[in-house]
């Protein structure tokens, strides 16, 4: 395995077990279980919230996460791609949440008032942990994220939801906020209902140590191995206190490798040690399965990092294509034809246009590829937060979308396909770029008035809107029958007229829009001719407002 110099699943577990998060969480869980109510404690700048476990007579069934009309998890549900089954959770846990959620929230709010903190750990044992996870999900899926960093640590908790929930958590980039501590002998967290699906990081622990797995498939793989080997131990579900105390002091004594021969390759040696940390032997078939499980998990978790560094290089390689379009735009503006690059590209198909079209297509392919990877979660979880990508995509869109619109109206558009802005016609990549740009979280800054026209038109769909307005004006001049339709057309024309005038006035458009022969100027002229032809000034605000 290339580039894989280090096995990290065991290291992650050791790291976690050496931190105070691990022992402090458990101590409070224990207190919550004994007291039977929620416990809150501040330790070293972190607020710990422990939810007590509640005895349940029978395993809950999967139910829709949304209680009708509540919309509690709207942010999570809305990230669901069409066609995927709805988000489902354990009904018993949901009912518990519905009845106690508000109380928990008010307790947290009170706790935050006692001592200001930026870090909150929400934790629980058994069903308390599942409730903690659901509460954390709810806090994280609010329209405005909580004003603190949240981590959820559960101990021996049953699975919470279905596969849709699991992938939705991953897609919303929240998976790393969940750590589920699970004893290899405890049967409760594994359950026996295949419709339940894990999410977040699982810390499997045994008397010899622990290891972390952070993708659902690997966790399920590990469940299968554990199901096929050990006999479920009822006592085990109560032994987390034992694991927490022994494992957090385990580090003081070194662990020797029992398997005899050990590989010189440090990655392989690391995996072999990790296998032993769960009490398996590398010589047994079950140990071999664990080994494969760890290796697969490592490959899966490393792939995004490798892919994103490859992408960075590719991004550099496509820069010349963008510059080519930029240059085309500049030359069009300087040319005596007095047409902007949009009109030039739409109306001509010379050598130059063919070259520019190639660049347009190559850039589109590159960005489509990027967004496909984002969609499939093949890139690091914080990929879209990198300024570099947000700005690069924005620059690309500002320059290239007008050409995509031109291409659309040159070759694809017909009355049946509908306009560019109609859903399905606009390439999806631009919707993602819009979303990234809005989500970049830049503090709102005072916008200075422009003294010159922008280098690129700030509304990248300007030309598409113009094409629609053009059609409206044409229709209005030709047809004369349906009065209702005419009013509608006039309204649309009026709207575009006002919108474009504002844009021009604010200098939010680029020079190419205002080139003497640009289709925008042609339209403006046509409109005023039309207006003067109509003696009573048809396109009139009050008229348009009537509808």
């Amino acid at each position: 395995m290339e580039e894989c110099r280090f096995e990290t699943s065991e290291l992650q577990a050791s790291f976690m077990m050496s931190t105070p998060l691990w022992s402090n969480s458990w101590i409070l869980c224990n207190a919550a279980d004994s007291a039977g109510n929620i416990q809150i404690q501040h330790v070293a700048g972190i607020m710990y919230v422990a939810l007590p476990k509640v005895e349940m007579n029978q395993p809950g069934n999967l139910v829709d996460v949304e209680v009708v009309g509540d919309g509690l998890f709207s942010a999570l549900s809305s990230s669901l791609p069409s066609g995927e089954p709805p988000l489902m959770v354990n009904g018993a846990i949901r009912d518990l949440f519905v009845s106690s959620g508000r109380l928990i929230q008010s307790q947290i709010t009170q706790g935050l008032e006692v001592e200001e903190t930026k870090q909150v750990v929400i934790t629980g044992h058994s069903t308390g942990g599942a409730l903690a996870a659901l509460t954390a999900l709810w806090l994280l899926s609010q329209p405005s994220p909580p004003p603190f960093r949240l981590l959820c640590i559960s101990f021996g908790s049953p699975l919470l939801g279905n596969q849709s929930l699991s992938s939705s958590v991953t897609r919303s980039r929240l998976a790393h906020k969940f750590c589920h501590v699970v004893s290899v002998h405890d049967h409760v967290p594994r359950g026996n209902d295949d419709r339940f699906w894990p999410f977040g990081t699982y810390l499997f622990c045994s008397d010899s140590g622990g290891l972390c797995l952070d993708n659902a498939d690997s966790v399920r793989g590990m469940f299968r191995i554990l199901n096929s080997t050990g006999t479920p131990n009822i006592e085990e579900h109560q032994r987390y206190g034992h694991y927490v105390s022994t494992l957090s002091h385990q580090f003081l004594i070194s662990r020797t490798f029992r398997g005899g021969r050990i590989s010189d390759n440090s990655y392989e040696a690391g995996v072999a040690l990790a296998v032993e940390s769960l009490g398996f032997s590398n010589d047994q078939p079950s140990g071999v399965s664990v080994k494969e499980c760890i290796e697969t998990a490592t490959t899966i978790s490393r792939a995004p990092i490798l892919r994103s560094s490859e992408l960075a290089i590719e991004l550099g390689n496509v820069v010349p294509y963008r510059l080519e379009i930029q240059w085309y735009k500049d030359s069009c503006e300087a040319s005596p034809k007095k047409l902007g690059y949009y009109d030039n590209f739409k109306n001509f198909s010379n050598q130059r246009e063919l070259r520019v079209n190639m660049s347009r297509a190559k850039l589109a392919k590159f960005w489509d590829g990027v967004f496909e990877m984002v969609e499939k979660n093949e890139l690091p979880f914080d990929f879209h937060l990198g300024k570099k990508w947000v700005y690069a995509s924005q620059f690309y869109q500002l320059l290239a979308e007008p050409l995509d619109i031109a291409y659309f109206y040159k070759y694809t558009y017909s009355r049946t396909t509908g306009h560019y802005m109609k859903s399905g016609n606009r390439p999806k990549r631009y919707e993602v770029i819009d979303k990234w740009w809005k989500a970049r979280g830049e503090p709102h800054k005072e916008k200075r008035a422009r003294t010159r026209y922008a280098s690129t038109t700030q509304d990248t769909c300007f030309w598409a809107k113009l094409e629609e307005a053009k059609e409206c004006l044409d229709d209005l001049t030709c047809e004369s029958s349906d009065a209702q339709k005419q009013t509608l057309l006039r309204k649309k024309i009026y709207e575009f007229e006002r919108y474009s005038a504002t844009l021009v006035k604010m200098k939010e458009v680029s020079k190419d829009v205002l080139a003497t022969n640009s289709s925008y100027n042609v339209w403006v002229k046509k409109l005023s001719e039309f207006k003067s032809k109509m003696s009573n000034g048809v396109i009139d605000e009050s008229d348009a407002m009537e509808t």
């Binding site: 110099r5 998060l21 972190i46 790393h176 906020k177 952070d214 004594i253 070194s254 422009r450 690129t456």
Partner: protein, 593 residues
């Protein structure tokens, strides 16, 4: 990798330094000086009171504070533009030293030119003082004229960690790291203390410190010491594991780390660990961190119960180390292979972690070779701009700045592609530097500083032209404030640093330097304005241009060509201004092509 200082490890100066360090215990001053032949030794007195380890008024979790850039201009990271962090109490101890005759004493030694070598040494917190005193000496004397001032040597015995990652990085970048040698016995707790959170050892530290003092007898099987030991080691473990992740970003652990405050302190210079039978030296700070953790592990409960006592005792056993361990038995890592670590009781697992730290170093060297292999292509691109593109623009009688800004011709397009490609190359290096994926010395090399300066002077005007061509100053704000790419800021920091070190310019002189970037931005901003309102700025700009031409920041051949927009703008200024302008002569003279 060479260890120049270690060739002298048999040097009697090591045991002499130790002797001086013990004598410093009984000085009523803060330091103790010895001199013999061509060597001067300054040994610093340790303190075992808590306030000298953690400054009482310091509010940060590890008692840390940023170093003052005016006093320690080299102690920072250029890529991150971050000053080094050190323990405030130790820095304060250095300040106390300056209230004594210490700095006068050093000055006398330096001025006398008799000494060939100046040694700073100390045991325990005295070692921390020695480290900071050495840094002070390097910044104050050595930096200015190496070769004239004697090389310092910093020998510490069981010293606590003093500075952070930036501190270590800066020392290595300046190639000063080789002057620092820290002796550490296997279980000594002191080099580990600073890895623990101040709050968690708050109660137990005063007692533990009292136990560390040479002059007090140690309590065996002491509960308080055992508690202190366990607390410190938990945090040492966390720090060691966290360092192991290196640049492998693991989301979950990142999330965990963000919930925790981890010690900023890292080792600097060479560490020489003693196993009781041999010495192992290394200068990879991540590997040192792993050893600090794993060498303390025990194999059974019996050993474990001994550790707290040993961790105190070992702090007091440097004399035994010097007596019993032959300096000949010194091993270097990674050269001699990690097998020598078996003496520390390191398991396979532990060795794996140490090994990974050395592998990361190799990777850094690899990255450097990869970048270096790309240099000829970078140079070729710069040369094309310098020769072909600029020449062509000159024949058109306008400067390359204006030609690029108008961008009418194919060549301008090519220049733009090159601009983007070079930006990519320099950005890539900056990213690697920020992530610590290049050797610390990378950017300190003259070859790099010169290339970055050449790139900045030649290409930044094109970026400024581009910025204003697309009116980004309206969207984003002025170039210097909002738009200037970090690659140029970084290149300028390197250039200024080079002036400070090599040309011996003072900080004030550097502050007053003229830069092309500033000239072009100011010009772009002024050209749209009315002379009457900005008379002063116009005059300043003209002065600035003189400085820029002198420092080769602006190409005077291009800027005064007939077609130059700067020339046209200047001619549009009112007559009364032009008559007294320092540029009048240049503007009236038209160069032949």
């Amino acid at each position: 990798m060479a260890f120049p200082i270690l060739t002298g490890i048999n040097d009697p100066v090591t045991s002499w330094s130790w002797r001086a360090s013990t004598r410093a215990y009984s000085t009523d001053q803060y330091f103790h000086k010895e001199e013999e032949d061509e060597t001067v030794i300054y040994a610093f007195k340790p303190s075992f009171s808590k306030k000298d380890w953690f400054a009482p008024e310091n509010m940060s979790s590890f008692g840390e504070i940023k170093m003052n850039r005016d006093h320690f201009p080299c102690m920072r990271s250029f890529s991150k533009d971050l000053d080094a962090t050190v323990n405030e109490a130790f820095l304060k101890n250095l300040e106390v030293l300056f209230s004594t005759s210490f700095s006068d004493s050093v000055k006398t030694v330096v001025d006398s030119r008799r000494s060939q070598r100046i040694v700073f040494t100390g045991h325990s917190s005295g070692g921390a003082s020695a480290i900071l005193a050495t840094v002070w000496y390097l910044e104050t004397y050595f930096k200015k004229q190496s070769g004239v001032f004697p090389e310092p040597l910093c020998l510490t015995f069981g010293a606590p960690l003093v500075g952070d990652y930036v501190f270590k990085h800066a020392l290595r970048r300046e190639d000063w790291s080789r002057f620092f040698m820290n002796f550490v016995t296997r279980f000594d707790i002191v080099p580990r203390i600073m890895l623990a959170q101040k709050a968690s050892t708050n109660q137990t530290l005063p007692y533990a410190l009292s136990q560390l003092n040479h002059t007090v007898s140690i309590q065996e099987n002491d509960q308080s010491t055992a508690g202190f030991y366990a607390t410190v080691m938990t945090d040492v473990e966390t720090a060691a594991h966290e360092a192991s992740f290196g640049n492998d970003k693991i989301m979950f652990s990142e999330e965990n780390s963000s919930h925790l405050e981890l010690s900023p302190y890292r080792s600097a210079g060479t560490f020489v660990f003693s196993t009781g039978t041999r010495l192992v030296s290394m200068n990879n700070s991540d590997a040192i961190l792993q050893i600090l953790f794993y060498a303390s592990q025990s194999t059974n409960e019996q050993e474990l119960s001994q550790r707290p006592y040993q961790s105190i005792r070992d702090h007091r056993s440097y004399q035994e180390m010097l007596d019993s361990v032959a300096m000949e038995s010194l091993h270097h890592l990674p050269l001699d292979g990690v097998y020598v670590l078996s003496d520390f009781g390191l398991t396979k697992h532990a060795k794996k972690c140490v090994h990974a730290a050395f592998e990361a170093d190799k990777k850094r060297v690899d990255n450097q070779s990869k970048i270096d292999a790309k240099l000829p292509r970078i140079v070729a691109k710069l040369t094309w701009i310098e020769k072909d593109y600029k020449l062509r623009c000159r024949t058109l009688r306008k400067g390359y700045y204006d030609s690029f800004k108008e961008s009418n011709e194919e060549e301008d397009f090519i220049a733009n592609v090159i601009r983007a490609e070079l930006a990519g190359s320099f950005d890539e290096v900056l990213v690697l530097l920020k992530k610590g994926q290049l050797p610390d010395g990378f950017e300190g090399r003259s070859v790099w500083i010169n290339l970055a300066t050449r790139y900045r002077r030649l290409m930044e005007p094109l970026d400024i032209a581009n910025y204003h061509r697309f009116s980004k100053n309206e969207d984003t704000g002025s170039y210097m404030e909002k738009g200037r790419p970090n690659r140029y800021k970084h290149a300028q920091r390197l250039y200024e640093h080079d002036l400070l070190i090599k040309a011996g310019r003072t900080a004030e002189e550097i502050q007053a330097s003229s830069y092309g970037s500033f000239f072009w931005t100011e010009y772009e901003e002024l050209r749209g304005k009315q002379y009457e309102y900005d008379e002063e700025r116009v005059k300043k700009l003209e002065e600035l241009l003189e400085g820029c031409i002198r420092d080769k920041e602006v190409d005077d051949e291009h800027i005064f060509l007939e077609g130059s927009s700067f020339r046209k703008w200047w001619h549009s200024l009112p007559e009364h201004h032009k008559r007294y302008s320092p540029l009048q002569e240049r503007m009236n003279y038209i160069r032949d092509s």
